[in-house]
Subunit: 496 residues, 4 copies
Amino acid sequence: MSDPQSAPRTLTTNPFDADGDTLHEECGVFGVVGVTDAANFVALGLHALQHRGQEAGGIVSHSSDVGFSSVRRFGYVRDNFTRASLMETLPGPLAIGHVRYSTAGSKAAAIRDVQPFFGEFSMGGAAIAHNGNITNANALRRELIERGSIFQSSSDSECIIHLMARSLQRDIPSRMEDALRRVEGAFSIVAMTRTKLIGVRDPLGVRPLVLGKVGDSGWALSSETCGLDIIGATYVREIEPGEMVVITENGGIESSHPFRKASSRFCIFEHVYFSRPDSIIGNRSVYETRRQIGVELAREAPVDADLVCAVPDSGTPAAIGFAHESGIPFGMGIIRNQYMGRTFIEPTEQIRNMGVRLKLNVNRALIEGKRVILVDDSVVRGTTSRKIKEMVLDAGAAEVHFRIASPPTSWPCFYGVDTPQREKLLAATMSEEEMTRHLGVDSLKFVSLDGLYRAVGQAEGRNNKCPQYCDACFSGEYPVKPADMIEQGFEMKAAE
Amino acid sequence: MSDPQSAPRTLTTNPFDADGDTLHEECGVFGVVGVTDAANFVALGLHALQHRGQEAGGIVSHSSDVGFSSVRRFGYVRDNFTRASLMETLPGPLAIGHVRYSTAGSKAAAIRDVQPFFGEFSMGGAAIAHNGNITNANALRRELIERGSIFQSSSDSECIIHLMARSLQRDIPSRMEDALRRVEGAFSIVAMTRTKLIGVRDPLGVRPLVLGKVGDSGWALSSETCGLDIIGATYVREIEPGEMVVITENGGIESSHPFRKASSRFCIFEHVYFSRPDSIIGNRSVYETRRQIGVELAREAPVDADLVCAVPDSGTPAAIGFAHESGIPFGMGIIRNQYMGRTFIEPTEQIRNMGVRLKLNVNRALIEGKRVILVDDSVVRGTTSRKIKEMVLDAGAAEVHFRIASPPTSWPCFYGVDTPQREKLLAATMSEEEMTRHLGVDSLKFVSLDGLYRAVGQAEGRNNKCPQYCDACFSGEYPVKPADMIEQGFEMKAAE
Amino acid sequence: MSDPQSAPRTLTTNPFDADGDTLHEECGVFGVVGVTDAANFVALGLHALQHRGQEAGGIVSHSSDVGFSSVRRFGYVRDNFTRASLMETLPGPLAIGHVRYSTAGSKAAAIRDVQPFFGEFSMGGAAIAHNGNITNANALRRELIERGSIFQSSSDSECIIHLMARSLQRDIPSRMEDALRRVEGAFSIVAMTRTKLIGVRDPLGVRPLVLGKVGDSGWALSSETCGLDIIGATYVREIEPGEMVVITENGGIESSHPFRKASSRFCIFEHVYFSRPDSIIGNRSVYETRRQIGVELAREAPVDADLVCAVPDSGTPAAIGFAHESGIPFGMGIIRNQYMGRTFIEPTEQIRNMGVRLKLNVNRALIEGKRVILVDDSVVRGTTSRKIKEMVLDAGAAEVHFRIASPPTSWPCFYGVDTPQREKLLAATMSEEEMTRHLGVDSLKFVSLDGLYRAVGQAEGRNNKCPQYCDACFSGEYPVKPADMIEQGFEMKAAE
Amino acid sequence: MSDPQSAPRTLTTNPFDADGDTLHEECGVFGVVGVTDAANFVALGLHALQHRGQEAGGIVSHSSDVGFSSVRRFGYVRDNFTRASLMETLPGPLAIGHVRYSTAGSKAAAIRDVQPFFGEFSMGGAAIAHNGNITNANALRRELIERGSIFQSSSDSECIIHLMARSLQRDIPSRMEDALRRVEGAFSIVAMTRTKLIGVRDPLGVRPLVLGKVGDSGWALSSETCGLDIIGATYVREIEPGEMVVITENGGIESSHPFRKASSRFCIFEHVYFSRPDSIIGNRSVYETRRQIGVELAREAPVDADLVCAVPDSGTPAAIGFAHESGIPFGMGIIRNQYMGRTFIEPTEQIRNMGVRLKLNVNRALIEGKRVILVDDSVVRGTTSRKIKEMVLDAGAAEVHFRIASPPTSWPCFYGVDTPQREKLLAATMSEEEMTRHLGVDSLKFVSLDGLYRAVGQAEGRNNKCPQYCDACFSGEYPVKPADMIEQGFEMKAAE
C-alpha cells in the first residue's frame, strides 16, 4: 500500500544549495472551481508559484464523469503539466495543486510525499494541499498509528487527512475543521471535495492565501497574487487569518472562522524574499516594499562608493532603492546565467568557485577599479556571500560593501521554511563585526528590524509588545510553540 | 496521500486478450530470508513466476542499516529488476516480492495497486504479498473506511493490512492471524516484518505455496517449485492448507494452524493451465499430469486422423500424450513467434487474423492435406479457437478436430483467476454440439471431469460428495461463498 | 556529419552469448510497394524476421508528399515500430526495412550502423538494406576514402551506397548494378528509390530472398516466407541467384541478371538453424528438413535410451524426427522460459549455471532415472552443451547422449553469419571422441555431411566436385575467396 | 547511412517564437586542448554560450586510447552534458563543442544536423564546429553530390567537411584552408584533429571567436569571453578576421592568414543583442555598449515620463543608461518568470496573451498611473511589442513610450542569424510613424545608426564609404553577396 522507501531520485539542484546556503519556502498552493478544464488553470497557477517549491508538483481534479484524478511528479510544472496527453487525464471543473521543496529531514525524495494528498471517506473523497508546517505532527502521528491509521508518506501534512478520516462529522468541511483544531503551527490550505473548493488559513495567518475571480463564474485560491495574474483572474481579497471559505461549483462562497481568535502574525520574510516581487501582500507591492528596504538601508548604513549592484535576482529591487536614495549609480555588476540547472562535473581543481560561476558571472568591465556596494536579500550561512565577494575582488573591485535587505537571520523557522539548524546560521554565532571579518569585506550592514517594519508600512516600526508580523527568524520570538522541535532538543530563547 | 486515479498506462498486451479469451492467474508470490542481497533472489524467483502475473511486480526488502526498501514497477521482472542501480536500493537479507495481472474490474492500472503492500504499525513495519482473492472484501472495505482507514489502492488485498493495523495484538504474526480470520476466500500470502518471513495459505489451500531451502541457512517461499529451481533452492514441502509458517533470520521455523480446520480444495486448473509444466504440485509433475490428460482424451475421444498438433505452448504436453496413446504422429503444425509483444498497427483490412498471426504461424507444408487433431488447454470464449481453426483450414488441412485438455469452462472463478462474466463463457451458453457448429470444426471434445481427476492421480475420478479439488469453473460448486459477487447480483448454481 | 563513436548502449543480451556460443544470422530484409502505409507492412515483416537480427531495426518509407522518411532504433521491432506516433512518421506506399545483429568486430553498437542506409544522388535518393557480407569491403573502403568519400558507419554495407554515388550511370538501378559488380561476397538486398522497390541476390544466392504478392496490386520482398505469411501475402517465387528485380508502384516487375553466371551455392545452415521452421526454402519446408535430419541421425547414430528430448527451441523438429524413426518416446525434458531477457544480477556464488537457468529449466520428474537423448542443432564452442549436460545430470538422468543435427562446425562463416574465430570452434580443434570426453557425455554424434544433404532433398548426398550448397562452415570450402579476412591473416584450407 | 528524415521532435520553445518575433544567433562554438578531461571544460563553455543556440549541442573529444568520441543531443547543455555516465564516454585532453538553433529552412529537427561534424580522411579524422552561414552552400552541395559525395545532414556546414575530404592536401589544416577558400559567407570555426585544436575566422570576421589560456598548458577557443570566464581561463586575444590558429597538445600555437585580405566587418548586432552582457568584444564591455545605447537614445529621443522600464532581460542595460541620462527613475515594471519553458495548454479563451504572461508579468503596483518608457533591444515583427504594450496599459499605465536600442531592422541576415523573410520585418514595410500607430503606443523611437556606431565606440559614427561593421540588417548593405538567396529570388537593395 505504501512504499517504505522508494528508489532515491537525483533532483535538480541549485549549486548554492550544496551547503544549504539558501532559505526555501516549502510550498505553494492553488485551486480553481467553476471553469472548464480547471487543471489547466491550476498548472498555470502553479507555474507562477514555482519559486515557492521547485522540487515536485501535483494536481488533483474532479469531474462528474470520471471522479477524482491525480497526477504527481518530480520536476518543474512546465516540464510535467504541459503535455496534452497528461493534462487530459485531469478533467473537470474543479482542481487543486501543490508545488513543494523536500522537507528538511528527508534523505530521499519519494513521490508518495508529493501533495495534494487524497483520502476516500464514507461520504466521498477529499484532497488537500498544505503550505506551512505542523508543529505537533510527531505526537499526532504516533497517536494515529497507535489507533490503526496507516501513513503513506513522511509528510507532516498527512496527519490532517487521517484526522479527517477519523472525525465523526458527517460532511467534509466539518471534518476538516475538526482536524485542523487538533493541529498546531502554520497552515494555508487549499482543499477540494467532489463539489467544493475549500481554503483555510491558520489563526495567525502565517502563510499567505488569496482569493480571485475567474471570468464570470469561477473562483481561484492562490498562495500569491501572481498566480491570479497568470490566469487573468481578478484579485478579490486575502483569506483572513483563521478563516475558512467553502466555494461551490455554482459560485457560492461561505466564510467561517472556526478557530479561536488570535491577532495576525504574517511572515515578514515573505516580503523580504519568498514572495514574487510582482505579488501584492496586504495591499502592498512586494517590489515596492523591497525597494523601500533599500531606501531604509541607504539611510541607516550609507557608504561612499561608485556603484550599487544587486546580487541577482532577489536583491535587485533593494539595490535600486539603495541607489536611488544614495544617488550612487545602479549597474549590473553581476550577471545571472539564465540556463542554470544541474551541477556540472568539475573538470579539475583549476576552476575555483565553479558552482557560483555556473549561476553568476561578474561584469568585469563595469566593476574594475570601482568601490562596489553589493545588495543581497539575506545572509544565511555566509558561504555564498564569501564566494561572491571573491569573484568581485578577482574582477578588480577596489572595495566591496555588503548591504543586506533583512536583519541578521539568527533563528530557524518552524512554520514552513527550510532553514539550517541554528548553529549553522552565521548570525547566530557571530556579531556584525565578526561577520564582516569572516566574509572579508570592507563593510557589512543589515537593515534594522525597525527599518524593515517601516519598509512594510509600519511607520512606527515594530510593536515589541505585540509584533505585527512573525519575525521569529530575526527575533527568536516564536508565536506558536514548536512542540516537535522542543521534543527533539531545540532550545527556545529565554524570555526577557 | 493516495492517488485517486493515476494517469493510465498502456500496458504490454497479448493480442488474444483483446476480447478476453484467456484465463489469467492473477498473482505469484515469493520470499527469501537468510541470504546476502535477498532481493536478487526474489527477482529471480519472480522471473520464474512471471507467467502468473505479467503486468507488474514489486519487491520489498529489509536491512538493519536502511530499514525497509521498496520498488514497484509495471512491466516484466527482467526489464525492471535487473538493473544494478535499482537492485542496490533493495539491500538486506530478507525480501519478498509479487507479480500480478490487473484485477478484472479496474480500468486504469495504477502503481499504487502493485504489491507488496506495506504498513507501519506501532511495533514496526510489515509488508505482504497476496495471491488469491478475498470474497468479502467489499464489506470489509466499507467497514474499515467507516472507522477511519484510508485506502490507497483499489486492491482487495489492502484490507488485510488495515485489519492488521487495527488489531489489538502486540506482535505482527498475531495481528496477521487476527486479520486473516476476518477474511474469506483464497489466499496464499508471503509477508515480512523486520526480522521474519511469513507464509500462510487459506484453510482450503486453493492457491499453491511451497517452502524451499537456500544454501545452508536460507529459506524461500514460492508460489511454485520452478521459483525454487531458478535460485538453486531445494524443495522442502508445500505449506499446508490453513498453515502459517514464521521463519526468522537465523533459520528457525515455527508452524501453526490458526484457522478452523477444513478439507483441502486445491485449484485443479493450476494443473491444467496456470502452473508451469516443470513445476511439481502435490508431488506430481505438472508436465506429466498434462501429458496424462492427453492420454485420457485419446481414450475418451479418439478420432481417425493423420497428425496431432498442439496449440502452443500450453497444449503441447497433452498433445504429446494424445499422440502417444493414439499412435498418431505428433508434429509442430503451429509455430509460435518468440518475439510476441505489443500490438502492431493494423496496416489495412487486407490482413485477416493479424492478431493471431503475430503470435502463431501455421506450418503449411506439414498440415496441407492432412486430417489434423488440435489439442488445446481450454476453451474460454471460443474466439481464439475459431481463428486458429481458420488459419489451419486456410493452410489446407483436410479436417480439423479439437481436443480440449479440460472440461467445459462454464463458471467464473472468484478465487484469484481473472475470468470473463459467466455469459461470456462459451460453455455456459452452448452444448458441446452447439460449440462444434459454432467453431466450425469437424469435431470438438473435452476431457471429462472424471478423466481430469484421473489424470491428476485420483484413480477413482471425482468424489462428488466431497470433491478433492476446487473445480468450480467446471462444476459451479464454489467451496467458499462469493459474498461480494452475490451482492453484485451473481447467481450461484441451484443446489441439486 | 558522422559520429566517430557514440555512447555505447547496453543491449538486451542472451546469457548464452556471454561466451559467444551461438551463431547469429546477421540480418533480415523486407520491402513492400503498392499498398497503403507500406511501413506498417514492413514492421510486421521485420517482426516475423526478428530471429535473423535482434539487436536493431530500421524502416525507410517514401511518400510523394513528404519524400523519404526514416526511423532506426535499437531493440525489438515490437517495442519500436508499434507506436502510432512513430509509424505516422513513415508514410507512403513504398517502404523497406532491416533487422540486424551487430557485426562481429564492432565494440560499441551505434545507431549510425543500423540500416537501411540512405544516400541522396543527383537523380534522387535511394535506400538499401543488405543481408550478407562483403568480403572485399576493406579494400573498397580504403579506395573510397582516398577519393573523398566520407563514411558514416562501421558497416561494410555502406560501401555499396558510396559506389552508387560515384557511378556515372543516370538511373539508380543501373548505379546499383555498377556498385554490386565491384562487390564480392554474399548479398541479398532490398532497396528503394522514390518509386521503385528493388531486390537483388548475389550470383551464388548464398542468402535467401523471396517475392510475394500483397492483395491485388502490391508486392513484397522478404528474407523468408514467414515474412509473407504474417502480412497475408502469397508466396510467388524466390529471387534467383544473380537476379535483380525492379518493381514499380503500379505493379510492373522487371527482372534482369546483371552478374556473371555462376552455379547456386545457397547456405545449407539456413536449413539447419537460421531460418524459421515455418519458412519454405527451395520449395522445402524447413521444419520437414529438420525433422528429416533427426531421422537421418537416428539411422546413422542410434542409441538405446528411454527418452528423446530437444534442446529448445531449435532442436525440437529433429528430436521429433529422431523419436519417430527410433521409436523412443519424445518428451519435453527441458522447458524454456518464455520471459527471457536481460541478464539478472547474480545473487551469490550459490547459484551455479544461473545463466542457463534463466533460459531453461529441466523437467526433473520426467528425466529422473532415464537414459536421455538430447538433440541439439549444432555445437559451436561447446560451453552451452556442457551446462545443459550438467543440468540434466543434476536432475537425475541415468545417461546423456547428444545427437547434433548438423556436421561438426569447424570453419568460420564470412558470408553474413557471426561465427567465432576458428580456434574457438570446438570441432576445429577436437575429434568427435575428444569432444565426447570434453563435454562429459555418454555419447556424442553429429549427422554426416551426406546425411544433411539427403535431409535437404539431395538423395545422392553431397556432390563433392560441385557442391549443391555453401557448406564452408563444415567443409572449409569457401565458394568466394574471403579477401578481407585473408588480408587479416586467415588461412584457408589447403587444396586437396 | 543517413536519415532522409528523422521522426520530428517537439522542442522546447519560447512562446514568443510562435510567430517568429525574435532573432536567433544560430551557433556557439568552443574548444579546449591540453587539459585533463577536456570535454568537461567544453560542457561548461557551451553552457556559458547557451544563449547562442538553445536547441541542441554536441561534443567531440579525442584520446589516444579510445580515439574520437562524440555525443550529440537535443536540449540544453545542462540537461545532457552533466551526467557522469555520459561525460565518461568523452575522454581525452582535446575536445570541441557546438550549440545551435535549428536553421531557418528545416521543418523537422534531426540529430544528424547537430554539430560538430566528423569525417574520416585517409590521414585521420577531423571534427568541425561552425558558427556562421555559408552563402554559396547550395551550389557547393550540388557540385559535391554530382561528384559522388553523400550528405548526411541538411546543414550548410557539411559542405566544409566534404570539401576537405576531396582536397589533395596531405594534412588536415591544409585541407581545411583548401575547403574554406571555396566557401563564401561568415564563419567562425573551431575544429580538431587527433592532436590539434584549430580556430578560423572568415576574412571579414563577421562572427566572434576568442582565444584564452587555461592553466599553465591549456588553450581554449570560444565564441565569447563569457565561455572563458566560466572555466577560469584568461582572455588572451581575439582570433583576427581571416586568421587560422593551429594549437598542438603541447601548447604550441601557429597563426596564419590563408585568405585574401579584407577589411573587418564584425556583426554590430552582436553588441546590440546576441552576445552576453558580461562578454567583452573588441575590448569593449557589451554591457557598457548597451548602457551607452540607452544614453544615446535618451539624447536622441527624450520624452517626459515617470518611469523607465526594460523589456527583460536584454533591454535592461539600455534602460539603465536611458534612466541615468534622462534622470527619470529606473524600475522593474515588467518581471520575468525564471521558470519559462514549454508552452502550456491554453485553458480557455478567457486568458488573453497567455504566451506573454508565461514569460512576463507586469508589476502593476509600480506602473499604475505612470507615464512609462519601455526600452527594448529591437523590433522584429512587432507582435511581442503589441502584447507588452497591452499588458502595460491593462495594468493602468497612463502613457507608453517605446525606445528601441537598435535602428529599424529592415533586412534579413544571411550570415548566421535566423531572421524572418524581409516582408515579415515590420520596419521593412512601415515608417516609424506607421509603426507607432500599428503598435498603438504614445511614441516609438529607434536609436539612429550613427548613434549606435557612437555607442560601440566610433565617435564619428558610421563611415558610410567603408562601414566599420556589418550592419546589413539595418542598412541592407551586404558585405558578402548572398548567392544562394539571390538564386532563390531575394532582391538586394539597389546601389545608391
